[in-house]
């Protein structure tokens, strides 16, 4: 697997790339860039799979790589309440890649192999579940993650330390009551919870423009009545995103209170493969924008960029090739993992085995 570091450039150790008043070290920017490209390559590989029949339905996060990469890199990764809990939706692959997930884990899910550790070939792409990293299972049901997030944060608040809960979802989904529940449960007086409430606002819910159904100027404004602070950030700008995430995490980690972060992002392949997964032309691409900046700052050249894309595509192709050779689920897998083993269950001590028998 190629390293996250860009070997083609000898950087001044202290070079800084700026965006507005903020900046990041050049080597971090290059690392972010490569991760963004790798995430995009994985998604684009999956889109092809959805068209070739190597997979079926595709949904994912092209256009959200800048924000998600910066999120993934700053997660306090580990298992248990000392670490961050992640309640993702289906557009957070770039965060997983940034956390160190090998591409093949995503590809296996799309290929529906039994080696898919996230869902055993059962769930749609981007529906991750990874206990070692506190990534709770992503479900297709919009917004339900927002009522579970206060639960992990509740345990973390009691546990102490600086682990926080991060919950992510789209803009349209905030119309579900569960979003409001998250605000209420995170801000109970005397029981405020360290929940970083993220909204990835692409201004769309499938075909419905946000402004046609939502009166809120910013979704984070909804937090004010509860005393929940928030920030809106350009999710297409990794430097701005990095710092906004850093501030938000810092706030939750130290104040042990909720914070809302609304990232304005693009949706570069439409909603999903159901809507054709065609590249849209009228939304900014965070990778193109970032490359322009990096080129302008002279910390990378076009050839290296091309090479990074090439490597990422190759990595995705290899992952696919490997995945396609891995075993598929069989009839025997249908019931697997329904129940955890129980010493007090006379019928299903180990797992579900079909209706109770004599």
């Amino acid at each position: 697997m190629p390293s996250d570091r860009n070997p083609g450039h000898a950087l001044l150790a202290d070079a800084q790339i700026r965006s507005g008043k903020e900046s990041l070290p050049a080597d971090l920017c290059l690392r972010i860039h490569r991760l963004m490209v790798r995430s995009r390559a994985m998604e684009e590989r999956m889109i092809k799979m959805s068209k070739s029949g190597e997979g079926y339905f595709w949904i994912g996060g092209p256009g959200e790589e800048a924000f998600n990469t910066c999120l993934g890199l700053q997660v306090k990764k580990g298992e248990g309440p000392a670490y961050d809990y992640l309640h993702f939706h289906y557009r957070n692959s770039a965060a997983m890649i940034a956390m160190g997930m090998p591409m093949i884990e995503g590809i296996r899910q799309m290929a529906m192999t039994v080696t898919d550790t996230h869902s055993l070939g059962r769930n749609f792409a981007g529906h991750y579940a990874k206990k070692e990293w506190n990534v709770v299972p992503v479900t297709s049901v919009i917004e339900v993650q927002y009522v579970m997030a206060p639960g992990t944060a509740h345990v973390q608040k009691r546990y102490g330390g600086d682990g926080i809960t991060i919950v992510c979802g789209g803009d349209a989904g905030t119309a579900e009551g569960d979003f409001a529940s998250c605000l209420i449960w995170s801000s109970r007086p005397g029981h405020e919870l360290p929940v970083l409430i993220v909204i990835e606002n692409n201004r769309w819910g499938i075909s419905t423009p946000a402004e046609s159904v939502h009166a809120e100027k910013h979704i984070i404004d909804r937090g004010k009545a509860f005393g929940i602070e928030g920030e809106v950030v350009d999710g297409n700008d990794p430097i701005a995103s990095w710092h906004a995430i850093r501030r938000a995490m810092e706030y939750c980690r130290t104040k042990r209170r909720p914070f809302m972060l609304e990232a304005m992002v693009s949706r570069l392949y439409g909603h999903s493969s159901s809507s054709g997964a065609l590249r849209v032309k009228d939304e900014p691409c965070c990778i193109e924008l970032f490359e322009k900046k990096l080129l302008g700052e002279g910390v990378i050249d076009q050839e290296t960029i091309d090479q990074i894309h090439e490597q990422a595509r190759a990595e995705a192709d290899e992952a696919l090739e490997q995945a396609m050779n891995e075993p598929r689920p069989t009839a025997a897998d249908v019931y697997r993992y329904t129940y955890a083993p129980s010493r007090v269950d006379a019928v299903y001590p180990d797992d579900y085995t079909g209706l109770p028998e004599a």
Partner: protein, 352 residues
């Protein structure tokens, strides 16, 4: 011939023009998309809602209270499980309110498996729905039935849920909808939105005729002697296929009843057929613990225990947390043609 989804669209158009439908709404139901399955393209009263199923059901109830006639869509039945309390209220408010208000709402939603839908686009809803007292529940398996049942759903002044079999939405029937042009391509050009920019597109509707299929009336799709098969939705055409094959291969013939109305169901038709064949097999794809098919079986036992020649049975989906995406899961979770054929053969062949 129209597809099932085109038939629904035409029924809704008829409803707008002749049956007083005032609002057709749901997530992505209005322009530009006209529904994720195109069921609501080009409809005059179709509009997009916020992403909030509870809001959708509540809006429908409110519109009905104020004298409107709403048709609301839940995008997939899989996403309706957060509204069961509201559906219960919609079903009980007239009873609870001493008949003050009727509740003339139609709720339509795609149900069942068969579209490689993974966990959350493969749920069946009829067993849940059947428990909603005060509701009527229908599920067409052909375009013409979809048209006729949708018209009745609209006409009925009570809450009616129209379950649309996901797997059959794009399937064509073998009967024209009254008013439908004979040529498929013509229909398509008239009422299907073009790919790409739709800003100025307007449908040209055929001159549709009224066609009401009464609620509570099953359709006898095949007539035979060896056993009664009761089904609806995705599994219905499979039962028909299996019946035809078994006739061809072994000479067995079946009464195949397309229930169409799940509640009220056509008990007369079921009862009559059992009295003829003495054998009954009920088939659906919902999960098998506390399944609507088990209710029907209970009625069979209640009324015909001593008329049965062999053990009555039900073939259903497995009691499982979901249907996995890999098709191996789906094939082994919900009844497929081979399972259905085998079950039909077994009941026909069992010694009385």
């Amino acid at each position: 011939m129209a597809t099932l989804v085109q038939a629904v669209r035409m029924a809704l158009h008829y409803g707008e023009e002749h049956l007083g439908v005032t609002d057709i709404f749901g997530e992505d139901v209005g322009p530009p998309l006209g529904g994720v399955f195109t069921a609501t393209q080009g409809l005059r009263t179709a509009w997009n809602t916020p992403l909030d199923e509870r809001g959708i059901v509540g809006m429908a109830m409110g519109i009905a209270y104020a004298g409107g006639k709403p048709v609301a869509e839940i995008q997939f039945c899989d996403y309706g499980f957060n509204t069961i309390d509201l559906l219960k209220v919609a079903g009980n408010q007239r009873w609870a309110g001493a008949g003050n208000f009727a509740m003339p709402i139609v709720l339509m939603t795609p149900s069942g498996s068969g579209i490689r839908g993974s966990l959350y686009h493969s749920h069946s809803f009829e067993s849940w729905a059947a428990r909603l007292a005060g509701w009527k529940i229908v599920m067409p398996s052909t375009p013409l039935d979809a048209y006729g049942l949708m018209l009745s759903a609209i006409e009925d002044p009570n809450p009616v849920m129209v379950l649309l079999p996901k797997a059959l939405l794009r399937v064509r029937g073998d009967k024209l909808i009254p008013g439908e042009p004979e040529d498929e391509q013509t229909l398509k050009e008239m009422i299907d939105a073009p790919v790409g920019d739709r800003t100025h597109w307007k449908p040209r509707w055929p001159k549709l005729e009224p066609y009401f299929i009464p609620l509570g009336v099953a359709s006898l799709v095949r007539e035979g002697q060896n056993a009664t098969v009761v089904s609806y939705g995705r599994t219905l055409p499979l039962c028909v296929q299996a019946a035809d094959q078994l006739t061809e291969e072994f000479g067995y013939t079946f009464d195949v009843l397309d229930l169409r109305s799940i509640f009220p169901y056509d008990w007369k038709a079921i009862s009559r057929s059992i009295l003829k064949t003495g054998r009954i097999l009920i088939i659906n794809e919902d999960t098998e613990v506390t399944n609507f098919g088990e209710h029907l079986l209970r009625r069979v036992i209640d009324h015909h225990f001593y008329d049965l020649l062999v053990r009555p049975r039900a073939l259903m989906g497995k009691h499982n947390p979901g249907i996995g995406l890999n098709q191996e899961y789906e094939r082994n979770t919900v009844p497929q043609l081979p399972h259905i054929k085998q079950a039909m053969r077994e009941i026909a062949e069992e010694e009385a």
